[in-house]
Symmetry: C2
Subunit: 161 residues, 2 copies
């Protein structure tokens, strides 16, 4: 069973457990979501789906992504731009992001020492921390080389607000 299949199965179980129904649309949407790369927006997913099934509305894509979040199978993220991007299954493999503010590239990374930072801050302030989000903004390798580190903002690149 592929990684995707396991997730699709977990979603089916979530639906059953919650008294919700399996539909053609939900099936297509979750498949497309897990097949797509990471960090897709609802709109992007919607467009991909149009090629294989015209009868899927953007609204349903939004609704299904919300269900995926509730099922713990996806997380929404706001990098510099105006819309939400969705990351599959982050609980299994927590990770953070490097975002190039010039070309918009998003690179994932993982750092175990973050846990120490989390715990230290939490302990000193009495918080119980369950989740975190770390975003590093700057230039990717290519953009550092091309721009010499100078901020050249293309319209579509994310920017740290």
């Amino acid at each position: 069973m592929s990684d995707s299949d396991a997730r699709i199965q977990r979603f089916a179980e979530f639906l059953a457990r919650s008294g919700l129904k399996t539909t053609r649309q939900r099936d297509r949407i979750v498949r497309a979501f897990f097949a797509a790369g990471r960090h897709v927006s609802a709109e992007e997913l919607y467009h991909r789906l149009q090629t294989e099934d015209r009868g899927i509305g953007l609204v349903t894509v939004y609704r299904t992504l919300k269900l995926l979040r509730e099922a713990g199978l996806a997380t929404g993220r706001q990098f510099g731009d105006t819309y939400t991007r969705f990351d599959p299954n982050p609980a299994d493999r927590p990770h953070d992001h490097l975002i190039c503010t010039r070309c918009g590239k998003i690179q994932e990374f993982e750092d175990a020492s973050l846990h120490a930072v989390r715990e230290k801050a939490a302990r000193s302030l009495g918080f119980t921390v369950t989740e975190h989000k770390l975003e590093l903004y700057g230039f990717c390798r290519e953009c550092t080389r091309l721009a010499g580190g100078r901020p050249v903002r293309s319209g579509k690149a994310a920017r740290p607000v």
Copy 2:
């Protein structure tokens, strides 16, 4: 000269340097901004201002906050909610945030060891990192005690998307 005064002065210099004008509205808005606590939204600031000066439009509050960002005196932040909150003068004292998902409290903290995390990720992936954002989500001291760590979501509390 108070801390606020110094910032107000810097804003005046920014305006002059950029060929922009000093107005009653801008003056009121920046004063209210630095007087207000951290993490206010444009709307919140607008409402505070209404009590002292009815003739200030929400649009002008938005525009002035944008100027404050351009002047390097404020930063916009999106915590779990749908609108932007503004943080005064973050460049001088970089800091990150702990956000209680139950009551919405936002607590600031600073951790020097984050720099190492930043550099490590950047070096290994060829990025040049200029900025970062770390948000820790969980329960504050009171909410941990009251809720026993159970997620009780009030409508207004921020939530990690």
